[in-house]
């Protein structure tokens, strides 16, 4: 039988609590194996970073035209990944799409953690990391300030705003669930949840303010997320380099960000559904909706990619055109065509209902989409640098093992943060799943009861507003 409803409306509420709470406890063998793999990946990166810190940036294989390479590409990739969680959660919240409720928690966690991963890369790529704090606008007795014109200092502002805002959004949305955890947990967890839930008891005053706060935060986060990736794109678009100086970059980056974020949501959806047995919450219809959304965004991305090529081609600037031709035919051509294949052809798999409901396929497809998006970021950074205005400095460079080790390790870092999250915090929003069920089951009845009571009151009191007398 094909499951058609987003969620089984007859689920017992106590069972929801029990199911989610169970996912927090008794990690299985596979969990520890995953943790160890992540730790090993991180140690690769740590070793590489220590080596690079001591010897110099040259060990990453960087050279004169290629001052930036995979570090920046990976930075953009992780920033992009961070976009779907919060942005989709906020948009879907505002338009009352209740199918977001079972899946938004882990998506927001993904946002926070990929931002925490992304934030590492500008630091790793600095020549003198130990002077990082000079980017911050602190009052110095020498009267020196950072340069507020630089897109890199915009990055510093935008990322810190986005990181704090999305963490707060994640946390505020989790307070009622933390209260549930507090009520049933033991030991150190009890203490942790007691502090974090801030004495939440679910009274009407709390809920009222909660609803408003959550809505306001969602309203802030939508423009914020768009602005953050626009600012990241400004790192390129504000320069005068051919292939970077593109007016369409901000929307192009935002679309690419949403795209890779949606693909990552699908990946994690499949994993959580399988490992935590969340079949009743992360249902096939919800997967289908996510997949359709991803497909739509994939088409937007494809469109913007083609538009970028077209405007370069017909703009007829010789530098820009040369870079474009070199992308398609030069030494980076295989990366370029893989990017187009993964980004624009593979998503057509999402157009078929049979495939959308087949978890292993969706898993592979989502990974391929993200591979394409990683290559896209690489293809933004590298070809321009290899082939800019000055012919004497044309050069093709492939990053060294140090660079790849740090990029590889960043996936372990993200994985580790996520693994810790799913065992410490509920990765499905319990109270909102309840809400979803309640509204689907009760909404109609309640409206009837309301009307009945209103009618009764009007009948008795002759339309006077009750509650103002007799206190």
């Amino acid at each position: 039988m094909i499951q058609e409803k987003d969620i089984n409306e007859q689920i017992e509420w106590a069972k929801i609590n029990a199911d989610v709470m169970r996912s927090l406890e008794n990690p299985r063998m596979a969990y520890w194996v995953a943790v160890i793999i992540c730790l090993l990946m991180i140690s690769c990166a740590v070793v590489a970073e220590i080596y690079q810190y001591n010897v110099g940036m040259g060990v990453a294989g960087l050279n004169n035209p290629h001052m930036w390479d995979l570090y920046i590409a990976t930075f953009v990739f992780w920033i992009g990944m961070s976009h779907s969680g919060t942005l989709l959660s906020a948009i879907l919240h505002i338009i009352h799409a209740d199918w977001r409720k079972p899946i938004y928690r882990f998506a927001e966690a993904m946002t926070t953690f990929s931002l925490m991963t992304a934030g590492l890369f500008p630091i790793i790529h600095l020549g003198r990391v130990w002077n990082l704090y000079w980017v911050l606008p602190y009052v110095s007795d020498r009267g020196i300030w950072p340069n507020f014109r630089s897109p890199l200092s915009w990055d510093a502002f935008a990322i810190s705003t986005y990181l704090s805002a999305s963490m707060v959004f994640l946390y505020i949305g989790m307070i009622p669930d933390l209260a549930i955890c507090r009520d049933s947990a033991r030991g150190w967890r009890k203490k942790l949840y007691t502090v974090l839930s801030l004495g939440w008891r679910g009274d009407d005053r709390q809920w009222r303010n909660f609803r408003k706060t959550y809505l306001l935060l969602a309203c802030f986060l939508i423009p914020l997320a768009v602005s953050v990736h626009s600012i990241v794109s400004a790192d390129f678009a504000m320069s005068i380099m051919p292939g970077w100086h593109v007016t369409a970059f901000p929307p192009y980056f935002v679309a690419g960000a949403l795209y890779s974020g949606c693909a990552a949501i699908i990946t994690l959806f499949v994993l959580l559904r399988y490992f935590f047995r969340f079949e009743e919450y992360m249902t096939l219809p919800i997967m289908e909706k996510t997949a359709k959304l991803t497909f739509a965004i994939a088409m937007v991305w494809t469109y913007l990619t083609l538009i970028e090529f077209a405007s370069t081609w017909y703009g007829h600037n010789m530098y820009d055109k040369e870079v474009l031709i070199a992308k398609a035919t030069g030494p980076y051509a295989w990366v370029f065509w893989t990017m187009l294949f993964c980004g624009s052809v593979v998503p057509f798999a999402l157009a078929f209902k049979r495939l959308r409901r087949h978890m292993p396929t969706m898993f592979v497809v989502s990974l391929l989409l993200n591979l394409g998006m990683y290559f896209e970021r690489w293809m933004i950074v590298a070809p321009t640098l290899s082939l800019a205005h000055e012919p004497h400095q044309w050069n093709v460079m492939w990053g060294s093992i140090v660079q790849w080790a740090i990029v590889f390790g960043s996936f372990g870092w993200f994985g580790l943060l996520f693994l810790i999250f799913v065992k410490v915090f509920p990765s499905v929003s319990m109270y909102e799943v309840k809400e979803m069920i309640f509204h689907r089951r009760h909404h109609k009845d309640l409206v009837e009861i309301m009307e009945e009571h209103e009618a009764a009151m009007h009948h008795r009191k002759g339309g006077d507003k009750p509650g103002l007398e007799g206190a």
Binding site: W13, A14, N17, P137, G143, I144, W145, F148, R149, S153, W154, F157, A158, T161, S164, A165, V168, I172, I175, P176, A179, I180, D183, L198, G199, W200, R201, G202, D203, D204, Q206, W207, R208, N209, K212, T213, L216, L217, F220, P223, L224, S227, I231, A234, Y431, K434, H443, D445, L446, V447, I449, H453, A456, M457, R460, P466, G467, E469, G470, A471
Partner: protein, 175 residues
């Protein structure tokens, strides 16, 4: 004179709703709907309507926070730039508006978000000690109606709750 705090737990939201509606209609003399606290596992905008007008003030904080963020942002950036004239110019003015707008926008959101969160913590009364009457069942699937009543109203209100199939009624002397 002592006052009692009563809390009734309901399994069925409709019953809680009826009970609230009856309190609102002054079925028990001297008990007002404004004294009632509703505890629920999920948001109940529909049920809360029966509680009458209860204002929310968070958005005012948000507004002024955002306004502060954008003005502070402008003056902070402009003051820093105007006092740091050796900064890189690149042919641009000392106080370049387009790039400052970007940062002002970020600061608007930054301050807006944090004042909202601050206001939420204060206005929702978070961070206080929980009421000893708190029931964990509220966080599972039950709705609780809690209110302080004078001794003479204690029995009628309990009767009202019982009439609406309250699962459990707790009470204690407040003062």
């Amino acid at each position: 004179m002592s006052e009692h705090r009563v809390m009734a737990l309901f399994n069925d939201f409709d019953e809680a709703f009826h009970a609230l509606a009856e309190i609102r209609e002054h079925k028990v003399k001297g008990v007002d709907i404004d004294d009632v606290t509703l505890l629920s596992p999920i948001e109940h905008p529909e049920i809360e309507e029966v509680l009458g007008e209860r204002p929310i003030h968070v958005q005012k904080f948000t507004f002024f926070g955002a306004l502060f963020g954008v003005t502070f942002g402008f003056f902070f950036l402009a003051a820093a730039q105007a006092s740091f004239l050796v900064q890189p110019q690149g042919g641009k003015p000392v106080i370049p508006l387009p790039s400052n707008f970007v940062l002002m926008y970020e600061m608007l959101i930054f301050f807006g978000v944090w004042t909202t969160v601050f206001a939420f913590f204060v206005l929702a009364g978070l961070g206080r000690k929980r009421d000893p009457m708190y029931s964990e069942k509220v966080n599972i699937d039950q709705v609780a109606v809690m209110l302080d009543v004078k001794p003479e109203n204690l029995e009628p209100i309990k009767a009202l709750f019982k009439k609406h199939k309250a699962q459990e009624i707790r009470e204690e002397v407040v003062r």
